[in-house]
């Protein structure tokens, strides 16, 4: 068990500082929307959104690892939590986003105008 009763306060404040800085960076990017990132695309999504998603996953990692203290759990517990979640989320995102994009194409290229 991870209950060796040592205080983690230093790490906690470090993670807090890190998460705050990342949030501030996100907000600044969101307000100014630098054209370099905003107008250039990679795999159908603009670079700004890629940055936002990467920073989000970065924050999520620190919340789960440091605050929820998965880093101190046995690796069997760690992976039985992380793997199914990651796999299922990627799966549902892939299916729904592909399908959404397909329906967008149907609306755009056919005679259906609107709207449900």
């Amino acid at each position: 068990m991870s209950h060796e009763h040592v205080s983690n306060t230093k790490r906690i404040w470090f993670v807090f500082a890190l998460l705050s800085v990342v949030t501030i960076v996100e907000v600044i990017l969101g307000i100014y929307k630098p054209a370099v990132f905003h107008l250039n695309h990679f795999l159908g999504m603009n670079l700004l959104n890629w940055i936002f998603y990467i920073l989000t996953v970065f924050k999520a990692y620190y919340i789960v690892w440091a605050f929820m203290h998965l880093e101190g759990e046995k690796s069997s517990l760690r992976w039985s939590i992380v793997l199914p979640i990651v796999f299922l989320i990627l799966y549902i995102l892939f299916i729904l986003l592909t399908e959404g994009d397909y329906i967008y194409g149907v609306f755009k290229d056919s005679t259906i105008k609107w709207n449900f």
Partner: protein
């Protein structure tokens, strides 16, 4: 009390119970089970949001035009500051929670009390902020027109700045009656009449020659669009909403069907109808999680005060509610990105 305390006696009786192959107690493992299923629920919601957004990718509202209020700064365009503050508050309450867990490991009751209290306060401020955000969203700021075809028209001046209906709508002395359930043919009614009628907005638009209409469509600056003479190319910015020429604006406004003010589950002045539905549903569901988290935290807080865990010899209960509280924070990180940033 023994059952609630983590006991590591895996030496003997592998099949006799009391054995923890993952090194986590029953309660903690079940909290993880719950968190996993809840995480999948939320990802289902967010994926559905992504689906609808991809479906209407050319007309989806832009977040920084919708959420631009800040307390005590009336009329100032402050995109995202407020929601950044909310995010910060929630992260901070997560920090005080993990400090409470940490103090619990060292059996320092007074520290646990203080940190739990701060966590509860942070949670309450967050829920209150969300209520304020909803209030602004529901009330709206500018108002818009929905056409018979179901698309949404907003109004801008010659500089491309948004104009509220109240600033130009004419006052026609006409009788408008609210549709009541008792007057309706089928189960129909309307909750309230908008401040202006369609005719008043149309008359006001005719009288103010400098006004233009902004559509939902996001301007891409493509060659095809450059040839389109109905678009005002000076005011339309790439990746922002398309502004029409005056002639085209008049044509579009002739098809007006409804005056839309603020947001409800049927239509909203920001754009796509589904946008408000998803906003209400997902932030509402998250807000409900925060609310129930606060309630659970209060219960545990009183248990700490009463010395329940001191007597039990373990503050693991604080750790378990801590897991839930961090999860709520984790979900917010994603909601924040998906609704406000992207």
């Amino acid at each position: 009390m023994k059952a609630t305390v983590t006991t590591a006696n895996s030496e003997e009786k592998t099949w006799g119970g009391g054995n923890e192959p993952m090194g986590a107690s029953y309660g903690k493992l079940m909290m993880w089970f719950f968190i996993m299923s809840d995480a999948l629920t939320f990802s289902g919601f967010l994926a559905a949001y992504g689906f609808s957004r991809f479906k209407f990718i050319e007309t989806w509202p832009l977040a920084d035009e919708v959420f631009n209020h800040f307390p005590f700064m009336h009329g100032v365009d402050a995109p995202m500051y407020y929601v950044a503050l909310m995010t910060f508050i929630l992260i901070f309450s997560s920090v005080t929670m993990v400090l409470a867990v940490d103090a619990g490991h060292q059996m320092k009751k007074n520290k646990v009390v203080v940190y739990m209290f701060l966590t509860i306060i942070g949670g309450l401020i967050f829920v209150g902020s969300q209520a304020w955000e909803w209030k602004n969203f529901i009330k709206g700021q500018y108002g818009a027109i929905e056409t018979t075809g179901g698309s949404l028209l907003q109004f801008v001046d010659k500089d491309g700045k948004r104009v509220a209906l109240a600033d130009f709508a004419a006052t026609l002395h006409e009788e408008r009656s609210q549709l009541k359930r008792s007057d309706a043919t089928w189960f129909m009614s309307e909750s309230s009449l908008p401040s202006y009628s369609v005719a008043e907005v149309q008359a006001g638009f005719k009288a103010h020659l400098e006004l233009l209409i902004r559509t939902e469509v996001i301007y891409e600056g493509s060659a095809e669009e450059a040839k389109n003479s109905t678009i005002n190319h000076d005011l339309s910015k790439v990746k922002f909403k398309t502004v029409l020429t005056r002639e085209e604006s008049e044509l579009r406004l002739a098809q007006a069907a409804h005056v839309v003010e603020g947001a409800n589950l049927i239509r909203n002045e920001y754009g796509n109808k589904l946008f408000a539905d998803f906003f209400f549903f997902i932030t509402g569901f998250h807000g409900f999680h925060v609310f129930s988290g606060v309630i659970i935290n209060i219960i545990i807080f009183f248990n700490v005060l009463l010395g329940t865990y001191e007597r039990r010899g373990s503050y693991e209960m604080v750790e378990k509610v801590g897991l839930y509280w961090h999860f709520v924070d984790l979900v917010w990180v994603f909601v924040f990105t998906v609704f406000y940033l992207v």
